[in-house]
C-alpha cells in the first residue's frame, strides 16, 4: 500500500489516519514538572530582557530596577503593598493550580472571581449583622457564585467535549459584562466615582480587619495562606487529592485504575471556581470596600501565570505569588517615580513564563551549536 502517488506520501499518512477514526484536535494541556533551576533561569532571562527593553526605551535599567525593588521591598509601606497585591494572587493561583493538577485548564478564574466579588458585595451591602457572621455569609455567597459559574464549563467539557480553554475564556467576558450590568441596573451608587461603575460601600461589619492598622494588609492574606495550606493537605494527604493528581498526570491509567476521571475533572473545576470566588470576595471586602467595575487588573490571568511559575505546588505557588505581587507593587511605584509604564511588569511576567516551560538549560548549548540543531531538524518532536 505504501506507494507514492501524485499527492506524495503525506496523503498516505492521512488516509491511514482517517481509516483509523476521527481526526483529533490538539488543544490539550498537561503540566510537566519543572526544576527549580529552570524557574530561576527563566526569571533571570525575564529580568535581562526587561532590562534591554527599558534600555531601548531610553531609560537606565539599573535605576528603574532599583526603583522597582524599592517600591516592592524598600520600606514597610512597600512590603505591605507587595503583600496586598500577593493576596488576590494567592487565591487565583491556588484556583488555577488545582485545575492544572487535575488536568483542566481553567482560564475562567477571572470570571469566577468577578462573580464571587459581586455575590459578596450583594450580601455585604444588604445584610448588617455581627462581624463574623456577615463575613462568613459574604464568603459563602462568593463560594456559591464562583462554583456555579465554574459548573458551566466543567459540564461542557465532560459531557459535551467542548474545549474548556475556549469556553472559560468566553465566559470571562460574559461575567465582566454581567457584573457591570448588575451594578449599573440594580446597585449603582449615587456617589459614583469618575466613569467607573461602583456599588455603595459595604457595611463595616462585612469588611475584613486590617492586620497592622495603617497598612493595607488584611486578614484576606491569612485566608489566602489558609487556601494554600488546604491545597497542600488536599493534594498530599487525602485520597481525593491523589485521584486528582493521577488523573491529571495520566487520565487513561487512572480510568484503568477505577477512578472516574470525569468526576475528578468536574470537582477540580468546582473547587477552582469556589477559590476564585473567595479571592474576589477577599479583594472587595479587604481592599476595595465596594464593587467597582474593572476592579481586577487581570488577577485571574496573573493567577494562572503564578501557578505555572510555581509549578502548581503549594510552596511554589506561595513564592511565585509573592514574586508576582512584588513585581506589581514595584511596577506601580516605577510608574509614579519614573517615566516607565507599569506594563513593564507584564512584559517581564510574559517573558518569564515563556521560558518556564522550555528546557532553559538546553537553550545555551542549542544556540551555541547550530550544527547540532540542524542535524536534529529532521527528528520528530515528541508530543
Amino acid at each position: 500500500m505504501l506507494q507514492k502517488n501524485s499527492w506524495g506520501y503525506g496523503w498516505l499518512v492521512l488516509q491511514h489516519h482517517i481509516e483509523q477514526g476521527e481526526l483529533k484536535m490538539s488543544l490539550e494541556f498537561r503540566q510537566k514538572p519543572m526544576k527549580v533551576r529552570t524557574v530561576v533561569g527563566a526569571i533571570v532571562i525575564g529580568i535581562l530582557i526587561g532590562a534591554v527593553i527599558v534600555l531601548l526605551s531610553g531609560n537606565n535599567p539599573a535605576y528603574v530596577y532599583a526603583k522597582l525593588l524599592k517600591g516592592s521591598f524598600g520600606s514597610a509601606f512597600a512590603i505591605s503593598s507587595t503583600l496586598r497585591w500577593s493576596t488576590p494572587l494567592l487565591f487565583t493561583a491556588v484556583a488555577s493550580a488545582i485545575s492544572f493538577r487535575g488536568g483542566m485548564f481553567n482560564m475562567g478564574v477571572e470570571g469566577q472571581l468577578y462573580l464571587g466579588a459581586m455575590a459578596a458585595t450583594i450580601v455585604g451591602i444588604s445584610y448588617n449583622g455581627p462581624h463574623i457572621l456577615t463575613v462568613v455569609l459574604c464568603f459563602m455567597a462568593a463560594v456559591i457564585a464562583g462554583t456555579l459559574y465554574a459548573l458551566i464549563p466543567a459540564f461542557m467539557r465532560v459531557y459535551l467535549k467542548a474545549n474548556e480553554i475556549v469556553t472559560t475564556l468566553m465566559l470571562n467576558y460574559v461575567a465582566i459584562n454581567l457584573t457591570n450590568y448588575l451594578t449599573k441596573t440594580f446597585f449603582l451608587s449615587r456617589d459614583s466615582m469618575g466613569d467607573s461603575l461602583a456599588t455603595r460601600e459595604l457595611y463595616e461589619s462585612a469588611k475584613l480587619t486590617k492586620l497592622v492598622p495603617p497598612y493595607s494588609v488584611t486578614t484576606g492574606l491569612l485566608m489566602g495562606l489558609l487556601m494554600v495550606m488546604l491545597f497542600y493537605i488536599y493534594m498530599n494527604k487525602s485520597v481525593k487529592g491523589y485521584e486528582v493528581h493521577i488523573s491529571g498526570v495520566n487520565p487513561d491509567f487512572s480510568r484503568y485504575g477505577g477512578i472516574s476521571v470525569d468526576k475528578v475533572r468536574i470537582s477540580v473545576m468546582l473547587i477552582s471556581g469556589a477559590i476564585a470566588g473567595l479571592g474576589g470576595a477577599a479583594e472587595i471586602m479587604g481592599v476595595q470596600g465596594r464593587f467597582i467595575s474593572k476592579f481586577s487588573p487581570d488577577f485571574g490571568f496573573d493567577g494562572m501565570l503564578t501557578a505555572l511559575l510555581g509549578n502548581s505546588t503549594p510552596l511554589g505557588v506561595t513564592l511565585s505569588a509573592i514574586f508576582m505581587g512584588a513585581l506589581k507593587a514595584g511596577a506601580l511605584s516605577i510608574e509614579r517615580t519614573t517615566n516607565v509604564s507599569r506594563a513593564l511588569a507584564d512584559v517581564i511576567k510574559g517573558i518569564v513564563i515563556c521560558f518556564v516551560s522550555v528546557r532553559t538549560l538546553g537553550i545555551f548549548d542549542r544556540i551555541k551549536l547550530p550544527k547540532f540543531t540542524r542535524r536534529k531538524k529532521s527528528e520528530v518532536k515528541e508530543a
Binding site: I53, L178, K349, C354, F355, K377, V380
Partner: protein
Amino acid sequence: MDINATILAVIARVTAPILLCASGGIYSELSGAPNITLEGAMLFASFTGVVGSYYFNSSIAGILFGVLGGVLVNAFFGFLHLKLEGDATVTAFAINTLCLGMTTFLLRSIFHTSGTLIDSRIVGLKPFSIPLLKNIPVLGQLFTSQPFTIYFSWIFIAFTYMLIYKTQFGMNIRACGENPSAASSVGIQVMRIRWICVLITGVLCGLAGVQLSLGYLTMFSENMTAGRGFIAIAAILLAKGKPLGVLAASVLFGISETFSNQVQLLNISSYIVLMIPYLAVVIILLLQPEQLNELRLRLMSMHSNRHSTNKSD
C-alpha cells in the same frame, strides 16, 4: 447606521479580523502546532500597523509593519515551541500577556500616552470598490468601498481550501498534524512544515490586526482585540480546522457581533448587548449535533453503569 441598507457590509467588516485570524490559525492547527497566540499577535500587529502608518504616513507601510509584527510574535512562538520544545498552551498564553504588556509599554514609550491613540497622522486603509461586482443588487454592497483586507480575507479562505485539500503541500501539512512520526518516516520534514505554518499564521494575524486598527477606525487602544483572537480559535475548534467550516463559524460570530452593535442603538443595557458575541460562541459550541450525540451516549452509558452496579449489589 441603517439596519437594512448596509448590514452585509457591516457583517463583512466585523467578520474580517476573526476570519483572517482563524484562516491563518488553520495552518498551525492542522500542522500540529496548536497556536493560541492569535490574540496577542493580532494585538501586537494592530499596534505595529499604527506605528508604520504614523511614521511613514502611508497605509501600505501600516500593512507591512502590521504583518511584520504578526510574524515577529509567531516567530517567537515558533522559537519557544518548535525550537525549545516549550508547552504550546503555556508559551502561547505567556506570549499573549507579553503582547498586551509590550503594546501598553510601547504606547507610553513611543507616543507618551496611555489608553487610546488617535492621531491625524495615522493613515487608514483606502477603501475601494470592485468594478462589475458592485452593481449586483444586494450583494453589491459587499464589493463597494471596502478596504483591501476584507477582499483578501475571502480570497485567502478560498485559497486555503484549495491548498489544504488539493495540493501536495496541504496534504503534508495535515499529515504532520495527524501523525508526525508517520509523516517523518515517509520523508516529510515535519519541523520545517510547522515553521512555515506558524509563520503563515503570523502573516494573517498581522493583516487581522491591521484591519482592526486601520481598516475602519484609525486608532489603537489598549487591548483593542478584546478576545477576538480567542473567538477565532473557537471558530477553528468548532470547524475542526476545515476551511469552509471556519468561514461559516467566523461569519456566524461576525453576525452575532454585528447584531450586538445594532441592538446597542435600541434601549437595551449595553452590557447585556456586549455579552452577546461571547455567549454566542459558548452556545454555538454547545449546540453542535455531534456533541449532543456525545451527551446522549454519555447519559446512556451512565444509565447502564448504574444498572450493572445495582445488579452486582
